[in-house]
């Protein structure tokens, strides 16, 4: 990943460091809240660990300064709730197909194109396809927004090809309609 300026690199490093240190604080909170363990050595261990992770992986978490990140995050929350419900539906769907004596499956591979281009939007859509009923993402071509998807029956395939509810929802979240 290529950075445009030193400022963006510093920005991504600071954001990654803060995220990693807060994560460390949350995971090791029992150390902080028991007074006799609370000292500089423990904290500095956390800072050193966060620094190491930041140096290795700051390019992965924040690639560049995004636009309207707050609005996108706010729009992501109801989407995640919907996604959670889809996971429950997906599991019941597969469980039904497994337990049914005749095994109502009719697998096929479908292809479709989307208008999405950014990494986050494509990753979200690919993960959502895998989590929703009856479909798993096989390949994604980021340049053209093309998806290859394995569907276990005709109905889940039509949900992606004809209805396109999920594509519209993801495009709304990342504002790439």
């Amino acid at each position: 990943m290529v950075f445009k300026s030193k400022g963006e690199k510093a920005f991504s490093m600071v954001v990654t460091f803060c995220a990693m240190f807060i994560f460390w604080l949350l995971l090791s909170a029992w150390i902080i809240y028991i007074p006799q363990h609370y000292d500089l050595i423990e904290i500095s261990k956390g800072i050193i660990c966060a620094l190491i992770v930041t140096l290795i992986s700051h390019e992965l978490l924040v690639s560049k300064r995004g636009e309207r990140v707050l609005l996108k995050t706010l729009r992501l929350i109801p989407y995640l709730g919907w996604e959670l419900w889809q996971i429950v539906l997906a599991t019941f769907d597969v469980a039904y197909r497994v337990i049914h004596p005749k095994m109502p499956i009719d697998p096929r591979i479908i292809e479709f194109e989307t208008t999405l281009r950014s990494d986050f939007a494509l990753t979200t859509l690919a993960n959502s396809i895998t989590l929703t009923p009856g479909t798993i993402t096989i390949l994604v071509r980021p340049e053209t927004g093309k998806f290859w998807v394995h569907a276990i029956a005709e109905k889940p395939a039509d949900a992606l090809l004809v209805d396109q509810t999920m594509q519209r929802k993801v495009a709304h979240v990342y504002m790439e309609e």
């Binding site: 995971l27 997906a90 599991t91 597969v94 497994v98 499956i105 009923p133 798993i136 096989i138 394995h150």
Partner: protein
């Protein structure tokens, strides 16, 4: 037995049921791709239900927070892993099973 214990037991039993269903699907489904459907989807909800059961059993503490993180990471890592295995199979040229063929 407290009410919360019963609720957490129900959650864990549900999780165990879905894990079992996933295993049954692994045995019943005809080919590699459809088997991944069974394991990839049933395991996500099965694991999360068991973790939610643990959360209710444990009560509110910092362990709960760690379990919430665990749930989030499962939600991110499970589809990525399923997709990676499936992509590897597709790229190396494994033909998907069609309806009417013999099972592999």
């Amino acid at each position: 037995m407290h009410g919360l214990d019963i609720i957490s037991t129900l959650f864990m039993a549900g999780g165990a049921f879905f894990m079992l269903t996933g295993a049954a699907g692994l045995l019943r489904f005809p080919d590699f791709y459809t088997r991944l459907h069974a394991t990839g989807k049933c395991d996500t909800l099965g694991e999360v239900l068991i973790i939610v059961g643990c959360m209710i059993y444990q009560g509110w503490s910092f362990i709960t927070l760690k379990l919430i993180f665990l749930t989030l990471f499962i939600f991110i890592a499970n589809p990525v892993g399923t997709h990676a295995i499936m992509k590897a199979a597709y790229v190396t040229g494994l033909k998907p099973w069609k309806r009417g063929e013999a099972r592999r």
